[in-house]
Every structure is written in structure tokens, then in C-alpha cells.
């Protein structure tokens, strides 16, 4: 299957490894990956801060870049959610709304794509150790992808999953919230870090680069010996 990759700006600029793992996992599953170089950011930072008009520029650019794709796959629940949000942003725009609707229909978050479209739950990955999984808010609640990551992780050889206490609580990232309301964000991320420590896991796994950057950055600052891994990297381990 021909898969058009929406890497996300975070992966492009900060987490190449996650992008590489995504490509390698999908290729191993028989997909042919296309990467349109016109892709930029999905517009979420501006959009969530209330700058809808400024964000629309990025959105239009993304729609134009991806509209010829057969399927679009992205290793981020939050950015996939954003692609699906475009149709609401352009709801009163007769030209862009239909284009945004078509974009939404063919967009998948990585784990959702592997489980629901490729119908694969065991990707043949192998990783020894204890891990816990943080279900990111946009992916679980707004996109509704809850089970796919757990299904995939349950088949990773050697990996023991421990439940994360209060997993449903946000990690305190929230895009610009992390800097605008830094003091509140700190309390939230600290609680998350403490919950991770409680599990005694040596890996914290997630499916969203932003959240992992937040929790990982705080763990690093607090000298926690936990390795942060994007689920694509876990699935690419062997």
C-alpha cells in the first residue's frame, strides 16, 4: 500500500529517530512510503492559542500538500486529530471545506493504521524490560484511538507492561499552555513523572511527540533513569 507520511514538525526537527522508525516499521509491513516535502506544521500551536486566521495559512498549505494521497499516516495522535479538525475550521468555506473533509477521511494515526487498516497486531518487535504507557489526551479522547497501542505493545516480545496510575490525566503539555501556565504545567508533569516512577518501569512509551518531550524533559531535569520511547521506536526494536 502506498502511504503518504505526515511526519509532524516535532519529528522533522527534533525526533528524526521517530520518523525513521515509523518508515522502517511501515516498510517492513509492506507499505511504500511517500514523503511530500511541502509539509510543514499542522497549525496547532497557533490554532490552540486562538489565532485561527494565522493557523489557516498552515492548514491550507497542508491540505494542498496532502490531498492527492491515498492514505495519510502520522506518528502523532494530536496532529492526526488536528487534520480531522480542519473540516470544522473551514465549515463555512465552500472551497476548503470539501477539501478538508477528504483529508480527514484518509488520515490515520500510526497505531490505528497498523491495527485497523493493515490488520496487524504483532509486528515482530522485541524489547526486553518493564514499560508503562501514557495515553495522550487528544489521541484517546478526541481521536478515539484507545486500544490499538495496547494491542501492539502486548505482542512485543520481552516487554512487560505495567499500568500507569491516573493514566487518564493530562501530562500538562497542552502546547503553549506549557509555557503560558508554566507553574501549573509543572505540577501536572511532576505528578505524571511520579506516577511513572511508581510503576518501576524502565521505559515510558507514548504515541505523541509533544507529550513525550514534556514528560521526558521533566524526567531528565529530575534525573529519573527512565528511557522515553515513542511507540514507533518500540515497534521498530528487534
Amino acid at each position: 500500500m502506498k502511504v503518504t507520511l505526515f511526519a509532524t514538525c516535532i519529528v522533522d526537527m527534533f525526533q528524526s529517530d521517530v520518523g525513521i522508525a515509523t518508515v522502517e516499521v511501515l516498510e517492513r509491513l509492506g507499505c511504500e512510503i511517500v514523503f511530500p516535502t511541502g509539509q510543514v506544521c499542522c497549525g496547532q500551536p497557533a490554532y490552540n492559542s486562538g489565532y485561527v486566521e494565522d493557523a489557516k495559512k498552515a492548514m491550507k498549505k497542508m491540505i494542498a500538500t496532502f490531498e492527492d494521497a491515498e492514505v495519510i499516516v502520522t506518528p502523532s495522535g494530536s496532529c492526526a486529530t488536528m487534520f480531522k479538525e480542519y473540516q470544522h475550521v473551514f465549515k463555512d468555506d465552500p472551497v476548503w471545506r470539501p477539501r478538508a473533509e477528504r483529508l480527514a477521511e484518509k488520515t490515520y494515526e500510526l497505531t490505528e493504521f497498523i491495527v485497523d487498516v493493515l490488520k496487524v497486531e504483532d509486528v515482530g518487535a522485541k524489547l526486553d524490560g518493564i514499560a508503562t504507557y501514557h495515553p495522550s489526551c487528544h489521541m484517546t479522547r478526541l481521536l478515539g484511538v484507545k486500544d490499538a497501542p495496547m494491542k501492539l505493545l502486548s505482542h512485543v516480545e520481552g516487554l512487560e507492561m505495567q499500568p500507569l496510575p491516573n493514566a487518564q490525566n493530562c501530562c500538562g503539555f497542552g502546547g503553549t499552555f506549557a509555557v503560558k501556565m508554566g507553574n501549573i504545567s509543572e505540577q501536572m508533569v511532576d505528578e505524571k513523572v511520579d506516577s511513572v516512577s511508581e510503576t518501576k518501569a524502565s521505559y515510558l512509551i507514548g504515541a505523541d511527540g509533544g507529550c513525550l518531550m514534556n514528560i521526558g524533559g521533566r524526567m531528565q531535569r529530575r534525573d529519573k533513569p527512565v528511557k522515553v520511547m515513542h511507540i514507533a521506536e518500540v515497534l521498530n526494536s528487534r
Partner: protein, 476 residues
């Protein structure tokens, strides 16, 4: 007290509240308890999503036809001998109640829990008239005794207080001599309140839902105090927000089921009371005079706008009980009697952006509130909507942020700009980078790196890797 409960800045409030380790422990504990109970109650009912949709429909239908149902309600209540007053503002509502108090020469007034009377600041007004106003809901009673400490939650107003603090308040104000056991405290309060019930001239209640078809006012309480407040005094006043209405008892039942399950995880609360006008000739109890005050106070200004759905709210606090921000900052930080996600949406609408424009930003837009709301108010979308109004319609955003977002719009829509920016990022950040980590960032990164590390930008962007990868693949 009115809706606004303090004059401090949001940031200062938050910093102060976050120091309160007891409050934070209490809130976290309550959240975990209530979350489980709510989920269990929903599961036990079955088809929770269908019930939510049904609840949403009922509320939407009522709001879309609010004029009609308010008319029906007041006609039916008047037929039964009740008086109805429409108050456009808080002041009008307070003046009307004051008028009754004067006419009756009332001295002692009993109240059952009511958010809307707090919103309009009724207690202050009546106290200025020389009345003794007594809150009969245990939580509200404690707060009132404690020099009118503001509520921090819409269902359990004294959530921020522990039993030791409550004991101290009772010892000081009620000559209490026993321990801090919750049962002993509650019993003592009941005894004190019972004395008050018998001497009251006027009873004031709120209203969970008025029922248009019968002209009744429905009240849901845990303690049964609303029944006493509404039965014993000879004059009864009910104050309701103008949106708190349902067409018939059938819808009342659905919403009460959603309310009690969402609020405390119970099938039904202990007491549901329906008041329908003054007592009739055949009845032995009930008031001889009944007044319904329907309060607008900014609500009709919300109808028909993009924020209309906030009026669907049934004040169950489920959104507050799951909010990860409320969890850490508590109710008082919001400076409003309406805290948490519902408060962050409603308060700026009723109280204006001048005082409350920070509230819509006190959210990560994680959507937990939207998920929990039994009448499907898209709370996180409304918070986002506020941000858009603040930035784009009101132009209240800081100039530096505006410029940054303009630059974002440009950068994100142009290949050349994005490519240049992302390529340069690694070398630009070099001076701040050590071991692939930025621990003291410049500009907007400063706030981030105050508490956590930031990764250094990739030396090789993902797109550069892919280009190479693509080439190798083609060559192979």
C-alpha cells in the same frame, strides 16, 4: 459574595493555592473517588452514551424554545397561586426579594444550597437589610460560619476544608466540644440547624429544574434540607437561572438521573423535592406564599451565540471532578463561584473578559471535561472558542505573541521559510546546547526550560534522512 470572589490576579491566586497541600490532597482524593463512582454508576445504567445524547437533546430543545417553556412555567405556577418575577439583572432579582422581606418584616431567612443566589450576591443584600440568613446545606453552613469563606466546588462547596479545620470553626462559632469525627460534626450542625428551621420567616431555595407543564420547581439534595427550607417557613422564594427548566416530568426524570450519577455516582440522591406553588386549602403543610424569581443576569446574551451550549449545564460538577488543572489549583484560583472547566467557560461570559480573560487559558484542552459532561457540552471547544474571541475579536492578546503567531503563519505556509528555519535551528541553538540538551533556553524557550529540558534540534532533519533513504531505495 457575588460571582467574583476575590480581586487577586489569576497567577497570584494559583501560586497561593498550589501551596495548600491539604487542599490539593483533598481534591485529588475526591477526584479519584468520584471518577470511579461516576463510571460505575454509568456502567450500571448501561447505554451511557445514549443517555448522554438524550440529555443533550432535552437541554438543546429546551434552550431553543426557552421563551415558550418559561411562559408555560409561569402561567402554570400563577394558576396555582404562585407569583413569578423575571429579573433581567442581579440587582432586579435582589430588589424583588428585598421587597418581600420588607413586606413580611422577616428577620430570619433559611436557605437551601443555590448557586444562582451566590451569583447574584443575595445573602449580602439581605444581611444589609438586617436579616439573619442561614445556609442549611452542611457545606455551605460551614463556609458561612467561617466568615463567608467562598465555595471551591459547585456540588461540595467546602471541599477545600478538612475535618480538623471544620472542627475548629465549630468550636469557635458553635461552642462545639466533641471530636473531628464527621458524624459528630454533622450531628451537631443538624441540631443547631433544626432550631433555626422552626423560627424562620422565609425559606429561599434554588432550583435544579423547573417543570414547565406543572409549574413546579424540582430540587435535588443529599441532606433533605431543601424540603425543610421549603416546607416550614410561611413564605417561600425560589430563585432560578432562566435556563434551568424542562418541559415535563419525563425529561425531569432523565436529567435527574444524569445529574445524580454524574455528580456523586448515585442512582438517585437521597431527596428529590418538587414544589408547586403555595399550599392549597386541602394541604396542611407548605408555605402560604410562593415566589419564583427567574434570573437572566447575562444568560439571554449567551443564547443564540457560539456559546449557547454552555447553558445546557446541569451543574453536576463532573467536568470539575476530572479536570487535571483544577486538581492542582483548586476552586478558589478561578476567582469565581463557578470553577473548573464549566467555570472557565461560563464566568467570562457572565463576568466579562476584563476580570476573567485568563480562565480560558487555564486548560490544556485535554478534553477530559467534554468526555465527562452528561449533557455533552463541548467544554474544551468552548474554551478554545473563548481564546479565539479574545485574540481575534477583542484583540486582547499580548503584542509579542501576536507577532510570533504572524511569523508562525508565514513560516508554516512557505516552503522556503520553513526549510531555512528548520535547517538553521540546530546551529542557532548550538550556544545553548550541551549533550544534545537545552537546559536554559532563550526567548519563548525560557519558560519551558525553567522546569524541564528541551531537546536540541536534529543535526539532520528527518526530511534530509528521508531524501537520502529514498535515493538509496531507488538505487537499490
Amino acid at each position: 459574595m457575588a460571582m467574583k470572589i476575590g480581586n487577586e490576579k489569576f497567577k497570584d491566586n494559583v501560586n497561593k493555592q498550589m501551596e495548600d497541600t491539604f487542599m490539593r490532597g483533598a481534591v485529588a482524593g475526591a477526584q479519584e473517588r468520584l471518577r470511579t463512582r461516576r463510571l460505575d454508576a454509568a456502567e450500571e445504567l448501561g447505554n451511557w452514551e445514549e443517555w448522554r445524547s438524550h440529555g443533550e437533546e432535552i437541554r438543546q430543545h429546551t434552550l431553543d424554545n426557552l421563551d415558550y417553556y418559561l411562559q408555560e412555567l409561569s402561567e402554570n405556577l400563577q394558576k396555582r397561586g404562585g407569583h413569578v418575577f423575571f429579573a433581567a439583572t442581579a440587582e432586579e432579582a435582589n430588589d424583588y426579594v428585598k421587597g418581600i422581606v420588607k413586606e413580611k418584616r422577616a428577620k430570619k431567612i433559611l436557605k437551601a444550597k443555590s448557586m444562582v443566589t451566590e451569583e447574584i450576591g443575595l445573602n449580602d443584600v439581605l444581611q444589609q437589610e438586617g436579616c439573619d440568613v442561614i445556609e442549611t446545606d452542611l457545606g455551605e453552613y460551614i463556609l458561612q460560619l467561617d466568615e463567608h469563606d467562598p465555595p471551591s466546588h459547585i456540588v461540595t462547596p467546602a471541599l477545600h476544608k478538612n475535618k480538623e479545620q471544620i472542627k475548629d470553626v465549630f468550636t469557635e462559632k458553635l461552642e462545639y466540644k466533641l471530636t473531628s469525627k464527621p458524624e459528630e460534626l454533622a450531628l451537631h450542625a443538624r441540631e443547631k440547624l433544626r432550631e433555626e428551621f422552626l423560627q424562620a420567616d422565609i425559606g429561599i431555595t434554588g432550583c435544579n429544574f423547573a417543570i414547565a407543564e406543572s409549574g413546579s420547581v424540582g430540587l435535588v439534595t443529599n441532606e433533605g434540607n431543601a424540603g425543610m427550607v421549603s416546607d416550614l417557613p410561611d413564605t417561600q422564594i425560589c430563585v432560578m437561572g432562566m435556563e434551568r427548566i424542562v418541559p415535563t416530568f419525563e425529561e425531569f426524570e432523565v436529567l435527574v438521573g444524569l445529574l445524580t450519577r454524574s455528580a456523586v455516582g448515585q442512582k438517585l440522591t437521597s431527596y428529590i423535592t418538587a414544589l408547586t406553588g403555595p399550599r392549597t386549602a386541602e394541604e396542611v403543610d407548605g408555605p402560604s406564599e410562593f415566589h419564583l424569581v427567574i434570573v437572566d443576569n447575562g444568560r439571554s446574551g449567551i443564547l443564540g451565540t457560539e456559546f449557547q451550549s454552555v447553558l445546557q449545564c446541569i451543574r453536576c460538577a463532573a467536568c470539575i471532578n476530572v479536570c487535571p488543572v483544577y486538581r492542582h489549583i483548586g476552586g478558589h484560583s478561578y476567582n469565581s463561584i463557578y470553577p473548573g472547566p464549566i467555570g472557565a467557560v461560563l464566568t467570562p461570559l457572565l463576568g466579562g473578559y476584563d476580570d476573567f480573560k485568563e480562565l480560558p487559558y487555564a486548560s490544556t484542552l485535554c478534553g477530559a471535561c467534554t468526555d465527562a459532561c452528561p449533557v455533552k457540552i463541548p467544554l474544551h471547544t468552548l474554551l478554545h472558542q473563548h481564546r479565539q474571541v479574545i485574540v481575534e475579536r477583542e484583540g486582547r492578546a499580548p503584542i509579542s505573541e501576536k507577532l510570533a503567531m504572524k511569523a508562525f503563519g508565514l513560516g508554516a505556509s512557505s516552503n522556503q521559510l520553513y526549510a531555512a528555519g528548520s535547517k538553521m535551528a540546530n546551529s542557532v541553538m548550538k550556544p545553548f546546547t550541551k549533550d544534545e540538551t537545552i537546559s536554559k533556553g532563550p526567548g519563548p524557550l525560557k519558560a519551558w526550560t525553567e522546569i524541564r529540558d528541551f531537546p536540541a534540534p536534529n543535526k539532520e532533519r528527518f526530511r534530509d534522512w528521508f531524501k537520502q533513504h529514498d535515493k538509496e531505495r531507488d538505487d537499490a
